[in-house]
C-alpha cells in the first residue's frame, strides 16, 4: 500500500465523519451527532499522538467494522428470506452481533471442512525462506521455518476448533450427567460427586493439565480427556445447582410418584428447564477450553509440531513481536475473533430463552 493511497483513505475517513456529523445535526438525531463528534475527537487525538499513519489505521479499522456490519446485515436479510416463516420472525429480531457470530463460525467451519482446498500449501511444507513478509503468494508471510502462515491458519482451525469442541462436549456430557444425578439422587451420591468436583477444582487448571499430560503423554485422546476432566467439575457445579431448584418442584414430584425412572426425569422434566443456563455456559466454556488448549500448545504440551494449531503458532512466531511485526498476532486474533463470535451467538440465544421465560 503506497503512502499516498492510505492518506486518501484517512482524508476520506475524516470527510465522512464531518458529513455524518452535519447530517445527524440537520435531522436532529442527538445520539448520532454525539457519536460523530466523539469519532472526530478520537481522530484528532490519534492524529496528534500517532500522526497520519495512526489515522490510516483508524480508518482501516472503521472500514473493517463497516464491512462486518454490512455483511451481518446482508446475512440477516438473506436468512429472513430463505428460512420458513416461523423461523424468519426469530431472525428478524436477531441483533447484528449474532449475525456476525454466525459469519465467523461459518468461515471457521468452511476452513475446517475445506482446509485442503482453501489453503494454497500444506501445513508442514516449507515454501520459502523463514520470516518472509506478506506477498502475493504468501498472503500473510511465512513463519520461522518458511511455512505459509495463511495455510497454517486454515489447517490450524481444523485442529484447534475440532479439538476444543470435542473436549467441551466431553466435559459437558460428563458434568451435566453427573450434576443431574447428584441433584436427583441427593444424599451419598451427591456428596461423593460434589467432593470429587471440589478436589479437582482446588488444583489450578493449567498446573493440573501440565501434570496429567506429562504423566499420561500427549496424544489427542489424552488431551481431550484431560481437558474434559478439568472443566467437567465447573459444569457439574452449575448443573447441580440449577437442577436442584427444578428437582423440588411439584411437577417433578408428580413424575416421581408416577414411578418414572431417573432417565425420563432428566431428559423430559429437568433438562428442558435448565437448558438456558447450560447453553450459555457451553459458549463460555468453549472459549475457556479453546484458550486452555491454545495455552497448552503454546507451552508445547498440546498439539505437537508440525501439526498446525493457533495456540502453538502464536508461540512459534512470538520472537517477531519484538521486531514490531504483527505475524504472531494473526493466530491470536483468530482465537479472539472466534471467541467473540461464539459469545455473540450465546448472548442472543440467552435473550431468546429469557424472552420465552417472560411470557410464562
Amino acid at each position: 500500500m503506497s503512502p499516498l493511497g492510505v492518506s486518501v483513505l484517512s482524508i476520506g475517513f475524516i470527510a465522512l465523519i464531518c458529513v455524518a456529523f452535519a447530517a445527524t445535526l440537520y435531522r436532529g438525531e442527538k445520539g448520532g451527532s454525539v457519536i460523530a463528534a466523539l469519532l472526530a475527537a478520537l481522530t484528532a487525538i490519534t492524529w496528534f499522538v500517532a500522526g497520519r499513519d495512526g489515522v490510516d489505521t483508524l480508518a482501516i479499522v472503521a472500514v473493517v467494522f463497516v464491512l462486518a456490519m454490512v455483511a451481518s446485515y446482508a446475512l440477516r436479510w438473506l436468512l429472513i428470506r430463505l428460512v420458513p416463516s416461523t423461523l424468519a420472525t426469530v431472525f428478524r429480531s436477531a441483533p447484528l452481533t449474532a449475525m456476525f457470530g454466525f459469519i465467523v463460525i461459518g468461515v471457521c467451519l468452511a476452513m475446517v471442512i475445506f482446509a485442503p482446498f482453501i489453503a494454497p500449501f500444506s501445513e508442514s511444507e516449507i515454501v520459502s525462506k523463514a520470516y518472509a513478509p506478506p506477498a502475493a503468494t504468501y498472503w500473510l508471510g511465512t513463519d520461522q521455518l518458511g511455512r505459509d502462515i495463511f495455510s497454517r491458519i486454515v489447517f490450524g482451525a481444523r485442529n484447534s476448533i475440532l479439538l476444543s469442541l470435542t473436549a467441551t462436549i466431553a466435559a459437558f456430557l460428563l458434568g451435566t450427567l453427573a450434576g443431574l444425578f447428584a441433584a436427583i439422587r441427593g444424599g451419598v451420591i451427591d456428596q461423593t460427586l460434589g467432593r470429587l468436583a471440589d478436589v479437582l477444582m482446588s488444583i489450578p487448571a493449567l498446573i493440573l493439565a501440565l501434570l496429567l499430560l506429562s504423566i499420561l503423554g500427549t496424544n489427542l485422546v489424552v488431551l481431550v480427556g484431560v481437558v474434559a476432566a478439568i472443566y467437567a467439575p465447573r459444569i457439574f457445579r452449575l448443573t447441580r445447582s440449577v437442577a436442584a431448584n427444578v428437582v423440588v418442584t411439584d411437577f417433578v414430584e408428580a413424575s416421581r410418584i408416577r414411578g418414572e425412572g431417573d432417565w425420563y426425569l432428566i431428559r423430559r422434566e429437568i433438562l428442558p428447564n435448565i437448558a438456558a443456563p447450560l447453553i450459555a455456559e457451553f459458549g463460555l466454556q468453549f472459549c475457556y477450553v479453546f484458550l486452555l488448549i491454545a495455552g497448552l500448545s503454546f507451552l508445547g504440551l498440546g498439539i505437537q509440531p508440525p501439526t498446525a494449531d493457533w495456540g502453538s503458532m502464536v508461540r512459534e512466531n512470538a520472537v517477531l513481536i519484538s521486531f514490531g511485526k504483527i505475524t504472531p498476532l494473526i493466530p491470536a486474533m483468530a482465537i479472539a475473533l472466534l471467541t467473540v463470535g461464539v459469545n455473540f451467538i450465546v448472548d442472543w440465544m440467552l435473550k431468546l430463552t429469557a424472552g420465552l421465560k417472560e411470557r410464562m
Binding site: 411439584d250 410418584i257 408416577r258
Partner: protein
C-alpha cells in the same frame, strides 16, 4: 368536573393500558372512584378485573409494563397524574400506604421487623428513630400481636403469616396515613387466622379514622370491612352501592353470581353399606420428620368407593403431611395404609406400578405442578403412555378424550404450553393428568385455594361430575369450609397433627360441635356485614 376538595380521593374516568407482547391492551376502562376521609371502599372482582391496578393507581403508580393513559386522580386536592416523582415520593408511605397480599414476600428477610417499620417515619421526617420504635410497639399492641415489645426485634421468618400481615398493617400505619390500600391482605391466610387479622385491621382503621381501599375477591370478607362495595369485571365497573344494600339487593347478574358462589352445595352421599371394604384405609399413622418432633399422631380414617372425604384444618394441622405419607413421599414411624386390604409399602419406590397408578394427586398450585416446557399433550399423555402403554393414534385419541372430559377444546389446547393457559385451565390440565392414569383414588391438595371463587366453583363442579361418571374416590384437603360443604360426604377435622373430629358431613357440621370444629365454623366469614361484630362478641368470651 372540578375536583371536589372535600373528598380525600377522587378518581375520574381512569384508563390504564398494558403492553402485552407487541399490542396495547386497555386493562382499566374508565373507572370512577370517590372516597371520603375515614371511609372504606371495597373493590371486588375476579382476577384480571383490574382491582390491584386501580389500587396502585390511587397512589399514582403504574406497574412495570403498564401506564395510566387517561383520567384524573386527585388526592386531597393534588393531581397525582401531573405530580412529579418527588411529590409522589413525599406522599407514598407518609399519606398513602400500601399493604400487599403476601406480607412474607413484602418484608425484606434480612432485616428485623422494627427496622423496616421505622424506615418510613424516619425518612419522611415524622419521628426520630426511637420515637418511631416506641410507636411501633404501641401499634403492635393495638393489632394484638403477641409480645408487642419484643416481636419487632425478630426477623420476618420467625413470625407466622397472620402475624406478618398484622406487622405489615402496623408498618402502613406508622405515619398515620390518610389512605391505606389493602391488596388482598387475608387471601393467603386460613380462616381462623383470617378472622384475627380482619378484626385487627378493622379496629385500627376505625380508631385512626383512616380511609381505605380494600381489595379482595371474597365478598364475605369485604362485607366486614367496607362501607361501600364496588364490583369490577374486566376493567369496568359493574355496580357500586353501600355494603348492606349490595348484599341484600344486587342489581347486576354478575354481582348475584358472586353472591351465590359460596352457596354451591352437593347433596351428601352416604355409604352404601358400612361393611363394604374401604378403598383406602389409614390406621394409627404416626409421622415425624427426620429426628424432629412428631407431626402426625395416630391418624386414622377410611376412604370409601365413590365418596369424598374432606380433610379440614388450618395450616400446620398435618393435612398435607397425611397426603404425602399416603403418596409414599414420607415414611411413617408406625401405623399402616391399606389399599383395598393390601398393605402399601411406605416409600413410593417400593410400590408396584399398579399401586402407584391407583392413587393420583392433584396439586394446589397448578403453576408449579405443570412442567412449563411441556405441551399439554405430553403432560396429559405421559401417564396414559406410562401406565396403559398407549402409543401414537390411541394415545392421541385418549388425550383428546381427556381434554373433552375436563371441558377444554382438544383442537385448541392439544399443543399449548402451560404459559398459554389461565389459572383455571391449568388446574383442569392438572386434573386431566391425574385422570389419565385411570386412578381409583384422587388426592386433591387445596386444589381450589389458589383460584378465584367463580373459577374454583367450576373446578368443584367438574370434580363432582367426574366422580359421578367415573366413580372416583376423593380425599379433599382444604382449609375452606365452603369447599367442604360443596363437595364432602365425610369430613375429617385435623388440628396439630391429630384427628379431632370425623364422620358424615351433616353430623360433623350439626350441633353439638366438637370445640375446634365450632371454632372453625365460627371463623368462616358470612355474607353479613354484622358477622365480624358478632364473632368478636363471642371471641372475647371464649379464649382463642
Amino acid at each position: 368536573m372540578a375536583p371536589d376538595d372535600k373528598r380525600l380521593l377522587q378518581i375520574r374516568d381512569l384508563r390504564i393500558e398494558a403492553m402485552v407482547g407487541d399490542t396495547i391492551l386497555e386493562i382499566v376502562k374508565g373507572v370512577d372512584l370517590d372516597l371520603d376521609r375515614g371511609e372504606v371502599i371495597g373493590l371486588i372482582g375476579e382476577s384480571g378485573a383490574g382491582k390491584s391496578t386501580i389500587g396502585l393507581a390511587a397512589m399514582g403508580f403504574a406497574r412495570y409494563g403498564t401506564r395510566i393513559s387517561g383520567g384524573r386522580i386527585t388526592f386531597d386536592g393534588q393531581d397525582l397524574r401531573t405530580a412529579t416523582e418527588a411529590q409522589l415520593r413525599a406522599l407514598r408511605g407518609a399519606r398513602i400506604a400500601y399493604v400487599a397480599q403476601s406480607a412474607a414476600a413484602s418484608f425484606n428477610p434480612a432485616h428485623k421487623i422494627i427496622d423496616q417499620h421505622v424506615e418510613a417515619p424516619v425518612l419522611h421526617g415524622y419521628q426520630s428513630r426511637s420515637a418511631a420504635q416506641d410507636d411501633g410497639m404501641k401499634l403492635y399492641a393495638k393489632l394484638r400481636l403477641p409480645e408487642p415489645d419484643v416481636i419487632g426485634f425478630r426477623y420476618p421468618h420467625q413470625l407466622s403469616g397472620g402475624q406478618l400481615q398484622r406487622a405489615m398493617t402496623a408498618m402502613a400505619m406508622a405515619c398515620r396515613p390518610d389512605l391505606i390500600i389493602f391488596d388482598e391482605p387475608t387471601t393467603a391466610l386460613d380462616v381462623t387466622t383470617q378472622v384475627e387479622v380482619l378484626s385487627a385491621i378493622r379496629d385500627i382503621v376505625e380508631q385512626f379514622q383512616t380511609a381505605a381501599i380494600y381489595i379482595t375477591h371474597d365478598l364475605a370478607v369485604v362485607a366486614q370491612m367496607a362501607d361501600r362495595i364496588k364490583v369490577l369485571l374486566k376493567g369496568e365497573e359493574v355496580e357500586e352501592a353501600p355494603t348492606a344494600h349490595i348484599l341484600a339487593h344486587p342489581k347486576e347478574s354478575y354481582t348475584r353470581k358472586l353472591l351465590a358462589v359460596r352457596s354451591y352445595e352437593r347433596p351428601e352421599k352416604s355409604r352404601s353399606s358400612k361393611t363394604a371394604q374401604p378403598e383406602l384405609s389409614i390406621r394409627g399413622l404416626d409421622v415425624a420428620y427426620r429426628s424432629g418432633p412428631k407431626v402426625l399422631h395416630d391418624v386414622s380414617f377410611d376412604l370409601h368407593r365413590g365418596m369424598t372425604v374432606a380433610v379440614v384444618g388450618e395450616s400446620g394441622s398435618g393435612k398435607s403431611t397425611t397426603a404425602r405419607t399416603i403418596m409414599g413421599l414420607l415414611p411413617a414411624t408406625s401405623g399402616e395404609i391399606r389399599l383395598r386390604g393390601e398393605i402399601l409399602p411406605w416409600s413410593f419406590r417400593e410400590r408396584s406400578k399398579d399401586q402407584l397408578r391407583r392413587i393420583q394427586m392433584i396439586y394446589q398450585s397448578a403453576d408449579t405442578a405443570l412442567n412449563p416446557r411441556m405441551r399439554v399433550s405430553e403432560i396429559i399423555g405421559r401417564p396414559a403412555k406410562f401406565y396403559a402403554g398407549l402409543e401414537d393414534r390411541a394415545l392421541h385419541r385418549r388425550v383428546e378424550e381427556l381434554l373433552s372430559l375436563i371441558e377444554l377444546d382438544p383442537a385448541k389446547f392439544y399443543d399449548r404450553l402451560p404459559s398459554e393457559l389461565s389459572g383455571g385451565q391449568k388446574q383442569r390440565v392438572g386434573i386431566a393428568r391425574a385422570l389419565a392414569a385411570d386412578p381409583e383414588i384422587v388426592i386433591c391438595d387445596e386444589v381450589t385455594s389458589a383460584l378465584d371463587q367463580i373459577v374454583a366453583e367450576g373446578i368443584l363442579r367438574l370434580l363432582d361430575r367426574l366422580q359421578n361418571e367415573i366413580g372416583l374416590t376423593y380425599m379433599f384437603i382444604t382449609h375452606d369450609l365452603a369447599t367442604v360443604r360443596a363437595v364432602a360426604d365425610e369430613v375429617v377435622v385435623m388440628q396439630r397433627g391429630r384427628v379431632t373430629d370425623s364422620g358424615a358431613r351433616s353430623k360433623v357440621f350439626a350441633p353439638p360441635h366438637h370445640p375446634y370444629t365450632a371454632q372453625l365454623l365460627a371463623s368462616e366469614p358470612k355474607m353479613d356485614p354484622k358477622w365480624l361484630d358478632t364473632y368478636k362478641g363471642r371471641g372475647s368470651e371464649r379464649p382463642m
